[in-house]
């Protein structure tokens, strides 16, 4: 065992010494994952309008005005729906938030500077709190626009003020507050009377404990369907590219040992062929796993790539590594020189990557291409990773891709070790 570990440690040390190889094994897949993730991200290319579902339960003039303002807003892309539908859309991540205008919204929106403000329920994915805050700000902006509109209509404004004065006088608020609010409303009424064409108001709520809108925010438990972001598609691709590149590097390195004579000394050492091959396989497996772990860690902490099951992710990772260690051995067996190994290797790997979803995500592939891709271990590797990340695969569903990967690894390893000429 110590000989196997020594062989593996030596190969890993050699991998680290070749800076260009290290770059293509670790950094390049990361670049691909981040670059394509950023390109495919909706925020990168599409409208910056926030997709929200709107349920108008009040169906009053006030709530309809508010809904119209929302629909006209450059900040929101509104989809009308019922309460249940709206929340469901957020749960499925099809909308950023659900806005509910409950009963009484219209009546409350007629009151100015006193009473209960119109309430909006905002239902949002708890992981998108920043967007929640942004929605609140935008809603206030829209309400203020509505308020501005009312202030511009002097007649309607004065009628509203008179109604408000009556309601204030009837209210049970402390006498001091009642008197000061009434005085404020009366002075507003007088001012509007003197300025029939007043254009705009300063939002004179100062002194009164009144706000134009009450927002009640709720969290929605997310029901996962589809990737949460583009990085959940590109990081599995990146991991596969990394593993593929690593397998190629080790295959060429193995052939290089033969052409440079170091394999001769290894064969003359008191170790058997099995130990020698095991050492090579172990080094390749460790390097491939390191690539997967590194990319996954960066994806997790930098790009919100979160697996639904860490155990299934580990299974996907190990199965993929097994497949590509086998392929490494096969390519090392096929190539007589470094150039031949590189030529044969990339000639095999590139179509496998192309049809397997290494370049075009599986979800965007034409049907015939996706069908052709079933022969590619890259496809099964990506599927296994996606299964553990966002496809929500159960253990049983993971068995097929993982079994195919393990079988591919075993067959390639067996053929590779049989064809490998050590001397």
């Amino acid at each position: 065992m110590s000989a196997i570990l020594a062989l593996a440690a030596k190969d890993l040390r050699l991998l680290i010494r070749v800076k260009s190889g290290l770059f293509f094994a670790f950094a390049w897949p990361l670049v691909i994952a981040i670059l394509f993730g950023a390109i495919f991200s909706p925020s990168g290319t599409e409208s910056r309008r926030m997709a929200v579902a709107l349920a108008d339960e009040d169906q009053s003039a006030g709530s309809r005005d508010f809904a119209a303002l929302l629909a006209k807003s450059a900040d929101f892309d509104v989809r009308p729906a019922s309460r249940v539908e709206s929340i469901g859309l957020v749960r499925k991540r099809q909308e950023a938030a659900a806005l509910i205008l409950p009963k009484g919204f219209g009546e409350a929106s007629q009151q100015m500077f006193h009473g209960t403000p119109p309430k909006v329920e905002v239902w949002i994915d708890p992981s998108r709190q920043a967007e929640g805050a942004m929605i609140q700000g935008l809603l206030f902006q829209i309400v203020m626009k509505g308020f501005q509109k009312k202030m511009a209509d002097t007649g309607a404004m004065r009628a509203g003020l008179r109604q408000s004065i009556e309601e204030v006088e009837r209210s049970k608020a402390p006498p001091g507050q009642r008197a000061s609010t009434a005085r404020f409303l009366e002075s507003m009424d007088r001012a509007l009377g003197e300025m029939p064409a007043a254009s705009g108001a300063g939002g004179g709520g100062q002194g009164a404990q009144w706000e134009p809108l009450s927002i009640e925010q709720h969290d929605v438990a997310i029901q996962q369907e589809g990737p949460r972001n583009a990085f959940e598609i590109t990081f599995p691709q990146g991991m596969l590219w990394g593993v593929l590149g690593c397998a190629m590097a080790f295959a060429i390195g193995f052939v290089s040992e033969r052409t440079h004579g170091t394999l001769l000394r290894l064969q003359m050492a008191p170790i058997g062929r099995v130990q020698l091959l095991a050492g090579k396989a172990l080094a390749c497996a460790v390097a491939c796993l390191a690539i997967e772990v590194t990319l996954m860690a960066i994806g997790r902490f930098g790009f919100h790539v979160v697996p639904h099951s860490w155990a299934l992710l580990a299974l996907a990772g190990v199965s993929t590594v097994a497949a590509f260690v086998g392929m490494m051995m096969l390519i090392a067996g096929l190539g007589k020189t470094e150039q031949a190994a590189a030529g044969v290797g990339w000639a095999v790997m590139m179509p496998l990557a192309m049809f397997g979803g290494g370049m075009v995500p599986l979800a965007f592939m034409p049907h015939w291409m996706a069908t052709a891709g079933t022969i590619s271990p890259v496809r099964w590797g990506i599927l296994a990773f996606e299964g553990a990340l966002w496809r929500g695969f159960s253990f049983q569903e993971m068995l097929l891709p993982c079994a195919i990967l393990l079988a591919t690894g075993a067959v390639c390893f067996a053929i590779g070790t049989r064809t490998l000429r050590l001397s």
Binding site: L7, K10, R17, M268, P270, G272
Partner: protein, 285 residues
């Protein structure tokens, strides 16, 4: 295998398709001797060495090393080899190379560190131990190749053309190393196509050509039996006379009595001459 015999090759035959690289060759290497395999490039020396170390399985015959079959890993542990092709990792330092090879032979911890240090010191590379091998000269790489062979303190050392492509200084250094090993009583099999190396270093020499052992003896024995007579070249009266004689001094006196001698030189037989006499061609043909 007789007592004192460390390596025995019996009727070894190895073929590559229609080419017979080694053809029924037998020899024995005794403990403590430097055994030279002398022959031109392509004579079959390296194939024979690869059979001896268990890397190649002979098509016929038997190899016995330290009482066992070198195809078995534990038997191979008795020998060290410096292959003709440099077998070093150029991106690793000398120390890293030796540490790695040492671990393959079961060395570890303090014992490994000691063996690495002493091997590097033996070939004079301790001051460059942390440099990557790619930055070494050809001669330094050859010396490190020798250190790697010595690392696990093997009973028998196989040096396959250990001075190919090295500068005179490194060649002398390697000769000094080999002579030091000889003084320690180490058994060495030394293949070369440089006759002067075989003459200088080897106790016994086997001359190989076309996969066959043409002759095997001590250097003096080969010179005496196959080298022919010493060559006396005399210049007299503007002409050159060449004589082969067992008594060159007597011949010189006889010639001096008949005519004045302007110049003369005496050439003793060499292994080159031995090879020429045995094969009809020179070692470098």
């Amino acid at each position: 295998m007789p007592d004192g015999t460390l390596l025995s090759l019996r009727q070894i035959t190895k073929r590559y398709g229609s080419l017979t690289a080694v053809d029924g060759l037998s020899l024995e290497v005794q403990r403590g001797e430097i055994f030279g395999l002398l022959g031109p490039n392509g004579a079959g020396k390296t194939t024979l060495i690869h059979c001896a170390i268990g890397l190649l399985e002979p098509d016929g015959g038997e190899v016995v090393l330290s009482g066992g079959n070198p195809r078995e890993p534990r038997v191979r542990a008795h020998m060290g080899i410096a292959p003709q092709v440099l077998s070093l990792y150029e991106l690793l330092s000398a120390e890293e190379n030796l540490s790695f090879f040492g671990k393959l032979y079961g060395l570890d911890g303090r014992r490994l560190a000691e063996r690495v240090a002493s091997s590097l010191a033996f070939v004079g590379l301790e001051s460059r131990r942390r440099d990557a091998v790619k930055n070494y000269s050809g001669g330094m790489q050859r010396r490190l190749n020798l250190a790697a062979a010595l690392l696990h303190d093997p009973e028998i050392l196989l040096l396959d053309e250990p001075t190919v492509g090295v500068d005179p200084q490194s060649r002398n250094s390697i000769f000094d190393n080999i002579l030091a090993l000889k003084r320690e009583g180490r058994t060495i099999v030394y293949t070369t196509h440089y006759m002067e190396e075989a003459e200088r270093l080897c106790d016994r020499v086997g001359i190989v050509d076309h996969g066959r052992l043409l002759s095997l003896d001590t250097v003096q024995g080969l010179l005496a039996s196959q080298g022919g007579l010493p060559r006396l070249v005399v210049e007299t009266g503007g002409r050159e006379i060449e004589l082969f004689s067992a008594d060159p001094l007597g011949e010189l006196n006889r010639l001096a009595a008949t005519a004045p001698i302007d110049r003369f030189r005496l050439e003793q037989p060499t292994l080159e001459q031995v090879f020429l006499n045995l094969t009809g061609r020179t070692l470098r043909d």
